[in-house]
Subunit: 216 residues, 4 copies
DNA sequence: GATGAATGAGTCTTCATTCAT
DNA sequence: TATGAATGAAGACTCATTCAT
């Protein structure tokens, strides 16, 4: 179901077992650090969390940009996995959507905002491919719920994904107690607002993930 | 209606007119810079926006922490003003709440997350006073809506304020086109989720602004 | 006679006296350091020599490239000054050429090789202008000597300038005793080889300074 | 004719054929890399050129200093070979000198400046022996030319070797087009300056290779 | 014996803060 | 008082060298 996003260049001969383990630990540590302290987390801090020397990060990723790139790939890929599982396993359309939203939060999809970060190559094929996979998966989820008459019809994938991203972003500073469970309250409230029938008329137009990455 | 929050120490003799103007321009510039480029905006950048030399910032604020402190005060104070206006002028409870939410977004209440930032003295009396004023104002708004049977009863001030803060936080990088109007869609969807009758059961417990600032 | 090369952008309002002094000390220190330890001299070392903090270098030059750029300008400009003085004051064509060659060595023209360094913008207008001034001055010197029948006719400005640069480049490591006076022997031998009549036929073609900066 | 300079310690049992091949490839790669990108070439780059892993360098040379040491030995040894061939095969004294100078340039004798580099043990017996062999060979060449009345009498081995070294040093950055053939022009001009009768009086005193390595 | 991977020390660069005009 | 300039501490990145396979 899920493509393995940790292999950057299939051309590379082969990674030693311990090196591969390190690579994954670095991406995981980076995801946590970024989610906690923002995209500007010191690489030394990330290295410390991953239990490696700082220079090891540079053996795997040429620079900060590339590390962030891979974190974004990882987060989106895992979220897409969740979307696909939910769609396949939940009988009810809106339930699948709800399951996805809460699961994506647990997968730290708040790091999705990295997509918009200045320090990233938005044209990169891998990024576009993964973004489009996630986008299509969420579209499918929303389509199913809409088809069941459970989802209001005036919203698009971008509406959901941006709000999801924002609501799950970590608060700055060391997070407050139980923030994680707190987040699920907001997500649920937002989901309630998505249900049909619509309780209001929305301003503006809905947006896609692709639109969001356009430069002004 | 609104207390002037730009005067730090009433004991101070009095600021010259131009100095006061500078002070306010610095706070305004900082609010914009923080909202656009994140809490890590260089002070030189803020000074440039304010049209003053960098050292002038230090004449008004002892250090970065204090500047951020005053930006937080300013944002909360202006949001409280909006809450009070809405409550006074809108006949309908839920309408007042909606008006406040959208107005607060325009007041850059996304900078509210500074409240939780590490680099700030959360015990400062001014901060507590302003936070409590805002909190009370929002509580009044919610109370009115709840009294009219328009607002679900399982949510608290903290739920609203945190979600409001999160949904209006600037996206990293130079913001995408029309993000401002886009935000109002999310806010409206969230507001629709707040309406009575509740469409779901929420996990966890509601929280107050005061709770949020507690250390774990 | 000599243009002041230390003013980068005439648009800049004005530099404070002490800042201007620092700027010049930095360029001078960089010239010495580069001539002694190569173009890779640590900026901290340059700062130490100039008697300023390391960050001060960055106030004057955005990065290492720009500093090197200005050192190259300074060296070429001073060499051009020497060429112009020699041409104006020496009655004899070849004597003027000799005076220029030895004077350029004392001006550390060995740093001229910076022109070809990777870390420099070879298209920069200031650089091109100064290079062309120097080139024209040397051409004039050579033309006068050639007109007097004292200079062989099969050589060009590039021949002289590259050999001059090479022969005056500092030896790596801390220079040996009296290397400076030693260099003047090699220059004199080379000058003797330049005299008419030519004692050999040269391979290849003569080159201009402009040619040297072309990319392959 | 030429001693094999690639064997560091004759006491060593014996190198396997492939190990010996690797050793020689490393030295050759280092010579090329140093000549192209300067003495600071990364060891990883040298390993890549040699087609070996980086750690293999350390199996053959304890550290960077020792590698450079062997490169210097190799360059001097090959230059000495050229000097001996020229002396043996050319009937005319000055012609032999000319042949040697141009041949030495092609052997990258520009790397000779490594001799003076800080990162090298100037007291090492092998280095002294090879230097003295080269020095004696060049002295023989100059002696023959001087005996034929073709070489001016006010210059020594150090004059020739240093100028030869300097004129053939690679320019920094990626070299310009045809720099190799360009160098031979400068060498020829310099050689023309060496011919008797002397066209000028030289400043200072002539120097030997031994003198050059003395510490101040 | 050879290799890919890991590391710590060193360099460049930025920025909050202080100083001198 | 307000300002441009200076600074030290901190973060990104490179590279010689060591380690584990």
């Amino acid at each position: 179901m899920a493509a393995d996003t940790t292999i950057a260049k299939p051309a590379q001969p082969r990674l030693r077992a311990d090196a591969l383990r390190n690579r994954e630990r670095i991406v995981a540590a980076a995801r946590e650090a970024i989610v906690e302290h923002g995209a500007g987390s010191p690489l030394d801090e990330i290295a410390r969390r991953a239990g490696v020397g700082n220079a090891t990060i540079y053996r795997h990723f040429t620079d900060r940009r590339e590390l962030i790139h891979h974190v974004a790939l990882s987060v989106m890929s895992r979220a897409a996995d969740q979307a696909e599982s939910a769609l396949a396993e939940e009988p009810d359309g809106f339930s699948a959507l709800e399951r996805f939203v809460h699961a994506a939060a647990d997968e730290r999809i708040g790091a999705l905002c990295l997509l918009l970060s200045d320090g990233i190559d938005k044209e990169h094929p891998d990024l576009i491919a993964t973004r489009d996979r996630l986008s299509a998966d969420v579209e499918a989820l929303m389509g199913a719920a809409r088809a069941g008459g459970q989802l209001r019809t005036d919203i698009g994938v971008g509406d959901l994904m941006v709000a999801l991203n924002q609501l799950t972003r970590p608060l700055p500073g060391s997070a407050c107690v139980n923030f994680d469970t707190f987040v699920h309250r907001h997500l649920q409230l937002f989901l309630d607002g998505l249900r049909a029938p619509a309780r209001s008329e929305l301003p503006g137009e809905s947006v896609t993930l692709q639109d969001l990455q356009q430069r002004p």
